[in-house]
């Protein structure tokens, strides 16, 4: 997984739980990278899972809630890392449309080895869209957090219904996103 995800995760912990918490998590997890994250590198997927698990123990909050919360936090970090011309969307829907065709294309230009998830708008409704998510990491909750935060940034909060999920055995996730 891309280093940017780890650095953002570290920042979220430091912001919300303090530096001591981060050090505690690193000590507990005993990671191969030793927690020396930089956005330019790529790290084992297992490290983020260990860190989230340890955070759940530390904070006594459930893993899914933490992942989604991290998704919300990650949005700003990722959005700011893109060239400004790439984040010039009038609304949430056009941003969602651009994820696969523009944003992930851009990411792959910089990091040809990045395994970006497949996130596609499959249906458009009067009040929203159906979003298709597919990734071997099955981190659909992270995507949901990102979408929520993006919706908030456009001032159009949404409700997301997870109609089918990879974590429940499906080959992809389907999310019905509707404006409140």
């Amino acid at each position: 997984m891309k280093g940017a995800v780890f650095t953002n995760f570290q920042e979220m912990i430091e912001d919300q739980f303090g530096m001591e918490c981060w050090e505690a998590l690193l000590e507990k997890c005993d990671l191969p990278s030793g927690g020396m994250y930089t956005s330019a590198d790529t790290y084992d997927d297992q490290e983020i899972l260990s860190l989230v698990g340890a955070l759940s123990e530390y904070s006594e909050l459930p893993v899914p809630a933490l992942v989604e919360a991290f998704g919300r936090y990650l949005y700003d970090g990722l959005a700011n890392s893109l060239p400004p011309s790439m984040m010039n969307y009038p609304d949430l829907w056009s941003l969602l449309d651009a994820v696969d065709s523009v944003i992930h294309v851009e990411v792959n230009k910089l990091y040809p080895d990045a395994l970006t998830p497949k996130i596609i708008v499959t249906e458009k409704h009067d009040n929203g869209v159906t979003l298709y998510y597919q990734s071997p990491r099955k981190m659909c909750l992270l995507a949901i957090g990102l979408v929520h935060k993006a919706a908030e940034s456009f001032g159009t909060p949404v409700t997301i219904k997870h109609t089918c999920c990879m974590n429940e055995g499906a080959d992809h996730c389907s999310m019905l996103i509707e404006q409140d």
């Binding site: 650095t7 930089t38 956005s39 910089l110």
Partner: protein, 502 residues
């Protein structure tokens, strides 16, 4: 607190470094992309060059279009990355059937670029052909078919038109033309136009070579005819001259012969008288009359002094020799007349096999010690000719051959007929004729034989006879190898038509 400030500073520095790294990565990406595009475009240009180069080679190496088409069709598939193609070839000679290629696969996309037959594509090609013939330009058609599980929705048919003739069609089968492929199609059109122009040049060049050869051949034939004309003009002049000379010699020869004949009779009378006088002289010498005896003795002295017995004997010889000489002159003059066609010429159906057999019989004495005679005489229709004259021609050729040959001689006689006449070839393996003499052998009085052996009239008479029969006589010879006379005689000569019945 101081540590935290330092930490935050370090954190910011790291983020800045990461951002710079990202910027560099982005630049690197663009540099890479542009490099890749350059490589792609170079690669493309290389193939484009190869394609055009192959077309250029068509003009230089001059292969047949049918053998050349697979090369450029392969080039086109590789250049355009189009998976399948086929071609049709129509030869210039419209009576020849067109060639329809099997379906070809792009060798870059398929390991086995095998050619396959595909009914569906064959059907499409036969459908497209009349459209192309009608429009005479590139034709695009939307279709819906699958070849080897590959969806095909577009057919591009490119005609090769040279000198207003549809020489071929190249058909490409593809799935939705990309911008690049559309660009490549323009390259193809240019290439094919170039090919058509080269074909045109080649056609003109071939035509030029052909007309040059034709002109050369005509020129040679003209020279040959001119030579023959000069020769026949010469022969005609010689003929006229001979006729004149023959006529002039004939008249004095007539009275010389007659006079010599009379002179012979007179001389016999003179001899009878002289011999009678001799016996009288001998008797008179016995006379007692002195005067008479003296006169007789004087007469007898004159007899002895003149050697009268010799004179009498020699006069007879002289007369006999003169008569032989006269006969010879008359024969020669007769030959000259025959050569210049002063003789009568009655023509009748003449069976050449019989005439040749007759001539061989007459020449038997000459030929019997000179090897073998091989006859390849086909049964031919009779020709309208003067049998006696033809017999003379063949006899002359056979005798000449026998003179040229030694004991290992081989005389071959071939007779065949064509639609208009009969060819007779008389070949010997004798001494041959020197090239410088070959031109002169039909001239009257030309001979290489010793003086007195040949008159030099035989071949010129034969020449005159064959000409009179509207035929031809030619000779080829090589010194030491032998000589071949070729005669051709028409079934029906135009100079005389009586007596022809087959």
């Amino acid at each position: 607190m101081e540590y935290e400030a330092a930490f935050q500073r370090e954190r910011k520095a790291r983020k800045k470094a990461e951002s710079i790294l990202e910027q560099k990565s982005r630049e690197l990406h663009f540099a890479n992309t542009s490099l890749k595009e350059n490589v792609d475009s170079l690669h493309f240009a290389l193939r484009e060059n190869k394609f055009l180069n192959h077309i250029g080679r068509y003009g230089i190496e001059k292969p047949k279009l049918l053998d050349f088409l697979p090369t450029i069709v392969n080039d086109m598939m590789r250049l355009s990355e189009i998976p399948f193609a086929a071609y049709v070839h129509f030869p210039f000679e419209t009576q020849q059937a067109g060639f329809y290629s099997p379906l070809l696969r792009n060798p870059d996309l398929y390991d086995d670029a095998l050619e396959t037959q595909n009914n569906e594509t064959n059907r499409l090609i036969t459908e497209i052909e009349p459209i192309i013939r009608d429009m005479k330009r590139t034709h695009l058609q939307i279709v819906d078919l699958a070849i080897d599980d590959k969806a095909i929705d577009t057919i591009v048919a490119l005609p090769i038109i040279s000198l207003d003739h549809l020489s071929g069609i190249i058909i490409l089968f593809t799935h939705t033309l990309t911008d690049k492929q559309n660009h490549v199609l323009n390259v193809f059109k240019t290439g094919i136009k170039q090919l058509a122009i080269i074909m045109e040049h080649r056609y003109q060049e071939d035509k030029l070579v052909a007309s040059y050869e034709e002109i050369s051949a005509t020129n040679d034939a003209l020279k040959d005819t001119q030579n023959k004309l000069v020769q026949s003009e010469k022969m005609a002049t010689v003929g006229q001259l001979s006729a004149g000379i023959a006529h002039e010699i004939n008249n004095p020869m007539g009275f010389i012969k007659s006079n010599i004949g009379s002179l012979g009779t007179y001389i016999e009378d003179f001899v009878e008288y002289v011999e009678a006088s001799k016996s009288l002289t001998e008797k008179t010498m016995q006379s007692t009359d002195d005067d008479i005896m003296t006169a007789a003795k004087g007469l007898d002295k004159i007899w002895s002094d003149l050697d009268m017995p010799y004179l009498i004997e020699d006069s007879k010889n002289l007369l006999a020799e003169s008569q032989q000489g006269i006969k010879r002159i008359i024969d020669i003059v007769g030959g000259l007349k025959r050569f210049s066609r002063q003789s009568d010429n009655k023509k009748e159906p003449c069976y050449l096999d019989k005439t040749i057999d007759e001539a061989l019989k007459l020449a038997h004495n000459e030929l019997k010690f000179k090897g073998v005679v091989i006859k390849n005489v086909a049964k031919v229709k009779p020709i309208n000719a003067n049998n006696g004259e033809l017999l003379q021609v063949f006899l002359n050729l056979f005798v000449n051959a026998s003179h040229a040959m030694n004991e290992q001689g081989e005389l071959i006689i071939d007779v065949v007929e064509d639609t208009k006449g009969v060819s007779i070839k008389v070949t010997d393996n004798g001494s041959g004729i020197d090239e410088k003499n070959l031109e002169s052998i039909f001239n009257p009085f030309f001979t290489t034989k010793d003086i007195g052996v040949g008159t030099g009239l035989g071949l010129s008479i034969s020449y005159g006879i064959i000409k009179d029969h509207q035929g031809t006589i030619d000779v080829t010879s090589e010194v030491g190898k032998g000589t071949a006379f070729s005669i051709w005689l028409p079934f029906e000569g135009t100079s005389s038509k009586e007596g022809l019945n087959e």
